[in-house]
């Protein structure tokens, strides 16, 4: 493993602007080489809203003989690491009546049809990243990492009678428990790194653990004494609390003061500019993987039905407006520009991952990086033939560099295959998964 130059505390703080209370990171200290163990497998799900203009997306050709379309052009440097998967459907994303964006977004990784409600009794399914996190999460400080760009706007209804959690979350810990995402790069960075205190003595550390655990014991007792007095729905809420407490306990127990053993410089910018924000978030994903702080990550480039205005692309209308293109050329052109930009962000992530050398290959080689949207064509709200990219080799489980055409298979089957690569054997998933999608290993 290559040694990286030590990073000074000042450099880091300068980059971080007003962030003051940052303890020394391990990366700033002299490093000891990490043992030559095989690199773990990692998974990223990259969600982008409002569908994709498919004519400019879908490559001609099949197998290794495919050519990148204008929308996919930025992926040229990683073309050999890429699978384009055509013809996969996520029919559980289809709503009752309207509400395609919210329903399909909650089904994006769960493949379960959402119950139509504005709030009461929300229900979809557990998402595949959380299934993965449940299986792999104990190995790392964070079982999973959820990142995104947009908060909700906090007004009105999110999509035709579907509650906002459906529209704003792709990660679901359970049928009614969305896993919220960090939308501020600095907060995400602090969460990952600010807890380490390399100067702490063993005795001090032991004391902190004891204190942390005693607080946890106390509040768990509080919660337990409540439990018996609550009705079904309230118990469910309290269960979420218990889960949080359990995770907190794991974190306290894992405190060891040594910090992450990785050496990438990092400058999280809290900017409202979606370009800077996206880059910061994607850098964080790479860093979190490099440091083995987590192995599963989801990223939402926007929330369902995004109304972002891409003024830096020369566009004045809202994304969602364009996506209802009405077969108007000007809208197609706008969509293609947005799609291209989105794919460029994905390409940036892949190239960063490809640039990280690990034992036995690059970070990208050890990962499965999944890109898609909740729908295909935004005008028709198609849940068929979704725009899907899968990059990386998942440590040898994927043979990339191809365009595979499936003549209609449940998307859930791709997830079953991916779960299998990560050691979770499943024969079914979501509402319509029947078995692992074939062909990924060639």
């Amino acid at each position: 493993m290559s040694r990286t130059p030590a990073l000074s505390r000042r450099t880091l703080l300068r980059g971080m602007g007003a962030l003051m209370a940052l303890p020394l990171l391990d990366v700033m200290r002299p490093r000891t080489a990490r043992a030559a163990t095989p690199a773990p497998r990692r998974f990223v799900a990259f969600y982008t809203p409002c569908g994709i203009h498919m004519p400019k997306w879908t490559p001609g050709g099949e197998g290794a003989n495919f050519s990148l379309t204008p929308t996919l052009a930025s992926l040229a440097p990683v073309k050999g690491d890429l699978l384009v998967l055509s013809g996969l459907d996520n029919l559980p994303g289809k709503p009752d009546g309207d509400g395609h964006h919210a329903a399909a977004t909650s089904a994006f990784l769960s493949c379960v049809k959402a119950r139509k409600t504005e709030g009461t009794n929300i229900r979809t399914g557990i998402s595949m990243d959380q299934v993965m996190a449940n299986a792999l999460g104990k190995a790392t400080r964070y079982p999973s990492l959820e990142l995104g760009i947009d908060q909700g706007k906090g007004i009105g209804n999110c999509d035709s009678g579907y509650a906002c959690p459906y529209a704003n979350n792709i990660a679901w810990a359970g049928p009614s428990t969305p896993v919220p995402k960090e939308t501020k790069p600095r907060a995400a960075f602090e969460r990952l790194f600010a807890d380490f205190d390399p100067n702490v003595t063993q005795a001090e550390l032991a004391k902190r653990k004891a204190y942390g655990l005693s607080i946890i014991d106390a509040v768990r007792d509080d919660a337990k004494s409540l439990q018996g007095k609550l009705g079904t729905t309230d118990k469910r809420k309290l269960d979420e609390y218990f889960t949080g407490v359990r995770e907190l306990e794991l974190r306290v127990n894992a405190m060891d003061g040594t910090g992450p053993t990785c050496g990438a410089a990092m400058t999280p910018a809290d900017s409202d500019d979606v370009r800077e924000k996206t880059k910061a978030m994607l850098d964080l994903i790479v860093l979190a993987f490099q440091c083995d702080l987590t192995r599963t990550c989801t990223f939402m480039l926007g929330n369902a039905r995004s109304t972002r205005v891409y003024s830096f692309l020369g566009l004045s209308g809202e994304h969602h407006t364009y996506s209802h293109h009405q077969r108007v050329q000007a809208n197609y052109d706008a969509l293609a520009k947005i799609d291209k930009w989105e794919v460029e962000q994905f390409s940036y992530l892949l190239q960063r991952m490809k640039g990280v050398q690990e034992e036995g290959g690059t970070l990208l080689d050890h990962s499965a990086v999944y890109f898609s949207s909740e729908i295909a064509d935004g005008n028709m709200h198609e849940h068929k033939n979704l725009p899907i990219l899968l990059a990386g080799r998942a440590g040898g489980a994927i043979a990339p560099g191809r365009h595979i055409r499936y003549g209609g298979q449940p998307l859930a089957n791709l997830y079953i295959a991916l779960l299998g690569m990560f050691g979770v054997s499943a024969t079914s998933f979501g509402d319509d998964g029947t078995g692992p999608l074939p062909g990924l290993r060639a």
């Binding site: 009546g97 309207d98 509400g99 409600t117 504005e118 709030g119 009461t120 909700g152 706007k153 906090g154 007004i155 009105g156 209804n157 999509d159 035709s160 009678g161 579907y162 509650a163 810990a173 428990t177 969305p178 969460r191 004391k207 204190y211 005693s214 607080i215 106390a218 509040v219 007792d221 509080d222 007095k229 609550l230 009705g231 079904t232 729905t233 309230d234 809420k237 309290l238 979420e240 889960t243 949080g244 407490v245 995770e247 907190l248 039905r305 205005v309 003024s311 004045s316 209308g317 809202e318 969602h320 407006t321 209802h324 009405q326 077969r327 108007v328 000007a330 809208n331 005008n379 028709m380």
Partner: protein
């Protein structure tokens, strides 16, 4: 600009998301019907005889986690910390239009982590400020002071008296610290942190005597105190309220009313402006508006618009205006920048100043407010559909059903010399669309004299003359915004709709079909007593939905 096409599929989708209406799916010839929550002026529905006879279901509010605003306000009132620590928490989702909806306020490991960190930082900061100086922790015998301090703090933080066992468990942290060779102070701080991550602090706990019984019961006075304080202040009860509750008097109508009036007069009632009105009137969405640069929209303007809306609503919180007058209140608040944007005389100051709108009736009321007009426009043009839908959903609770996918989808034929109304005429020709659009579009046309950032105009950008006339189903015709808002103000469902939004917010749960009678009663009562916001709030607070709850039958919900 390409644009309007047949049937407005796109126009619609551009719009604010549609409320799913219980009835009609898709557009059709028949007019979509609202969720039936009739107001006091509405013709009597024979079904409403039921409201008099049947046992009323007060519903139940799910265990309510504090949302970000509530957390911030609560630690402000509890510890004097105004640092808004919750702004670094992940965003709260919202349901039924509000982010205090208990059903969608989830707890998560990430949030738990944030709570834990915040608790530590809050306690340290408060300690440094001397917030716990009431007694001295004698190193030799610290327990007595610790007990007093923790009992007092936990009572306020948990919004109820704490049991001796609970207090002793907290005091035990002092012994733990001693074992670890630390000072009593360290132990007390640990206990304080435990109080702040306890479910009793993070959740508003309401207990049913029989959790599986659906027989309604009255909430305890202490639970009522929290209901009240989180409704009016988005924060914890203060000492006066807590004492009224502990004394067992809060449920008495006179005591309750006195508390409500006292609380509304408190500056903390500003929370109603920020959290209720900010969401009901969509002011919050102003943060996300990105109008085209050619409209000259910038941050000072955004801020002035936001403050205008807040100041106007603030007057309704404390003042004597009828709530319905929000639609045409003849005053507003402007500074020089906003005044010139609006074409009003400048007050001669950058500070927001109250002005009368006698000579500018077009600016009176909600429909003349830049904030609303901007958030209901597209970035690059007005959207009569968005504006019309806003009126229907937020004022009349008549959200039309969403259109069918790709409805029409005909190629657009754009003639820039036509005004928007003419261009949208197709909406009302195509039978699959006319049902909804005859309802939505005209209300938006009535506001067409306002451009995408709320400036007055008589010509559209393409040069066509604005036609702000419209006709609503049933033959009500109007010309321009002043006539249009009169029609809306007279709508028999206005009062009930305002009630419904306020009740949804007050309870932190959706007001649904089973609340029909409650909504009707509240709006009737409120209007009878004068129709001020205060009257609505008092009527809500006196309703069974606010005063009672019930358990949940086992297995009733999945």
């Amino acid at each position: 600009m390409h644009a309007v096409t047949a049937c407005g599929w796109r126009w619609w989708k551009v719009g604010l998301a549609a409320v799913a209406v219980v009835l009609a799916a898709g557009c059709s010839d028949s007019l979509p019907k609202a969720r039936v929550l009739p107001g006091p002026d509405a013709p009597v529905d024979p079904q409403d005889a039921l409201c008099r006879s049947a046992a009323r279901d007060p519903g139940r509010v799910t265990l309510h986690r504090l949302n970000r605003a509530e957390y911030n306000n609560t630690v402000r009132d509890l510890l004097g910390d105004t640092g808004s620590p919750a702004s670094s928490f992940p965003p709260d989702d919202h349901g039924f239009g509000f982010d205090n909806n208990a059903d969608v306020l989830s707890m998560s490991p990430l949030l738990m982590e944030k709570y834990s960190h915040a608790a530590e930082a809050l306690v340290e900061a408060a300690w440094r400020r001397g917030a716990f100086n009431a007694c001295v922790l004698d190193p030799a015998q610290p327990e007595a002071c610790a007990r007093e301090l923790l009992k007092t703090f936990a009572r306020r933080a948990w919004r109820r008296p704490v049991t001796p066992e609970e207090v002793e468990r907290l005091v035990a942290f002092v012994a733990l610290a001693r074992q670890q060779g630390d000072t009593p102070e360290a132990g007390v701080k640990l206990a304080l942190r435990a109080v702040l991550v306890s479910p009793h602090f993070l959740f508003r706990v309401e207990l049913d005597p029989a959790p599986t019984s659906t027989v309604p019961h009255t909430v305890s006075d202490l639970e009522l105190a929290s209901r009240l304080s989180y409704f009016l202040w988005s924060s914890m009860p203060d000492e006066a309220l807590l004492q009224a509750a502990e004394g067992g008097h809060l449920h008495e109508p006179e005591v309750l009313e006195a508390q409500v009036r006292r609380m509304l007069a408190d500056p903390k009632a500003r929370a109603l402006v920020d959290n209720f009105a900010g969401q009901w009137l969509y002011t919050r969405a102003l943060d996300f508006s990105q109008p085209e640069s050619r409209y000259g929209f910038d941050e000072p303007l955004r801020e002035a618009m936001r403050q205008e809306m807040q100041l106007v609503f603030q007057e309704f919180v404390t003042g004597d205006h009828r709530l319905k007058d929000l639609l045409d209140a003849p005053f507003t608040y402007v500074n020089d920048r906003l005044a010139s944007h609006y074409g009003l005389p400048k007050p001669g100051t950058p500070a927001m100043t109250r002005v009368e709108l006698k000579d500018h009736p077009e600016r009176a009321g909600l429909f003349g407010k830049g904030a609303l007009l901007t958030v209901t426009a597209n970035p690059d043009r007005t959207s009569p559909v968005k504006r019309g839908v806003w009126v229907l959903e937020q004022l009349l609770c008549k959200g039309p059903p969403p259109p069918p996918p790709d409805a029409g989808g005909l190629a657009p034929a754009v003639d820039p010399t036509l005004n928007i109304k003419a261009r949208m005429a197709q909406h009302r020709v195509d039978p699959t669309c006319s049902g909804c659009h005859t309802l939505m579009d005209p209300l938006g046309f009535g506001m067409e004299n306002f451009d995408p950032v709320g400036r007055w105009r008589t010509k559209e950008e393409g040069g066509a003359v604005v036609d702000p006339s419209g006709e609503l189903p049933g033959g009500k015709a109007f010309n321009g915004v002043t006539e249009m808002r009169a029609v809306v103000k007279q709508d028999p469902d206005l009062s009930a709709c305002m009630t419904r939004h306020l009740l949804t917010y007050a309870l932190g749960r959706g007001a649904e079909e089973q609340d029909r009678c409650t909504v009707r009663d509240i709006s009737q009562q409120a209007e009878t007593r004068g129709g001020r916001l205060t009257d609505y709030i008092l009527a809500i607070v006196r309703s069974d939905a606010f005063l009672q709850r019930r358990g949940e039958a086992e297995g009733q919900k999945p």
